[in-house]
Symmetry: C2
Subunit: 350 residues, 2 copies
Amino acid sequence: MARSRIAILGTGLIGTSLGLALMSRKERDYEVVGADRDRAHAREAKKMGAIDRDVGSLQEALEEAALVILAVPVMGARKILEEAGQYLQPGAIVTDTCSTKSDILRWAAEFLPESVHFVGGHPMAGREKSGPGAASVELFRDAMWAIVPSPRADERAVSVILGLVESVGAYPLYIDAQEHDTYAAAVSHLPILLSVALFRMVRDSQGWEDAGLLAGPAFRDLTRLASGDPAMSRDIMATNREAILHWLDRYQQELTTMRKALELGGQPVADLFSSTQFDRDSFIENPPIRRRPEGVEAPSAQDTLGRLFVGGLYDKLKDVTSRAGSSGTPMRDDELRRKLGVPEDRDGER
Amino acid sequence: MARSRIAILGTGLIGTSLGLALMSRKERDYEVVGADRDRAHAREAKKMGAIDRDVGSLQEALEEAALVILAVPVMGARKILEEAGQYLQPGAIVTDTCSTKSDILRWAAEFLPESVHFVGGHPMAGREKSGPGAASVELFRDAMWAIVPSPRADERAVSVILGLVESVGAYPLYIDAQEHDTYAAAVSHLPILLSVALFRMVRDSQGWEDAGLLAGPAFRDLTRLASGDPAMSRDIMATNREAILHWLDRYQQELTTMRKALELGGQPVADLFSSTQFDRDSFIENPPIRRRPEGVEAPSAQDTLGRLFVGGLYDKLKDVTSRAGSSGTPMRDDELRRKLGVPEDRDGER
């Protein structure tokens, strides 16, 4: 029997890093093919050892793929979903790595055949670099990876994605699409705007020649996200605009409050800096993690990726009897977790 | 003859890093003493090999010191300047590393005796870490170091500070105090506020438990400065408030413009991200530097630190005939440079 196929669509920073991780597993019994609108990116990914073969068309990538990973900006993912149905085999698993989740879950439901299992994903990793050249097998190490299964995805599909996430050293985080987009707007998407605004303000100012001479690590750190992939940023703004504008307004309010405090001066200003240093240091030292229900083990990557094409229930999962409600009503993530018996996070590793 | 003495007041991140660099020079003919209000910091600096001796009083630190480095937050520096005159020997050189320059130049003129030479300084280095434990001899490598000589500082004093800056691998940048504070407000001080505001907004929100789970590299990068030394931040706000509020207002305008663009959507948004990525990448690859006048060599650290206590004109300097106008009118930095024949930057190293 021919090796099973994993297809990576989009061999930029994320896709190539995933490819590197998948290709590095000992005794892998799958083939990794890659495709990118920019053939040079696909060739580079192959040269780096991130994929076995680079293919030139959607059809070649999708046919016979048991697992498809969409690693393109979200509007690009939409286009692929619109066309993919005709090529995907029944039972294929499709996941993505896009920065917003509500729209893509909707598009997956709208365009993919019922026999295809879509599990939304979003690795909270990567900074300002883009392109295959910046890829690393360590990119996802210790990163959170949001998981948003579609209502039609079965337990096997979800556990395969869990295995993928675990195999790259990341931590799965079950979350609702709406929730994800709301919070990502605050902690990932708004920061892009703040970086861009700071860089533009200084760069476009009359004193740039001199300000630029003084610009050191503080300025570089705060404007880092302004060097991110413009297509990704553009698509984020298009697919999460409401939440982002909401947080932008709240941020403007925070700045206005801060301005008042500075005008008044004195102890409140000192307290603001002391308390914020304390809170942030606490966050860095002890980031929030979801605690695992007692006694439930994490599925191992070996088990899940090994079983990628075997089918059948993932036997370590508890209490799985039927598929999510066929009415199509999205199952709440805690219900799904209970049904799957899947733990929320690695025991004791953080 | 006893070894000459360099005194470092404040053995936090900056002071200890400077000490490490000074203590590591081969064939050094000076002693390095250190003092800190927090005796534990001074002891730690000594243990790390950043100072020869730690002393417990201002008097012990300053008497017989040929070079004094103030590495404390700016309000702390003020207190030291108020008391220092009674202990400093005539001809002593005093410099600082504070984040703002206008006030400290004023206080130096007000409190120090005429026979003491004050040269203001500000290394554009260091991020969110503080304390001696985070110190490194490499902290200043390739960093810009703003130099603001007071009107009464002579050529020897300025060249000693140039030698200090060069010995730690930094690049001297002559600048006017006002100019420094105006631009530092945009590229260093406002960023602190932006970090604090973002962290506070998210941390104080109802959804923190969940938002915190999703917070990845983007959030950490943008809030990094919120972990900085609160005393330093507080003193920056107190001594550069006008310029900071000015840039805060401009930043709010930039955000308002950006909001409009997002509401309209489309190509202008895409252009904003593309053009900003391009401009920032260009800045990172080719940061602005001042070009050196043809044929003028940089003073070497060996020459200047070696001559620290020898006195006399620094003989590689051209065209130095008299001291800066004794009327006390601040000399413009290009005039001073011309008089000293001092180049603006290292030739060809950037």
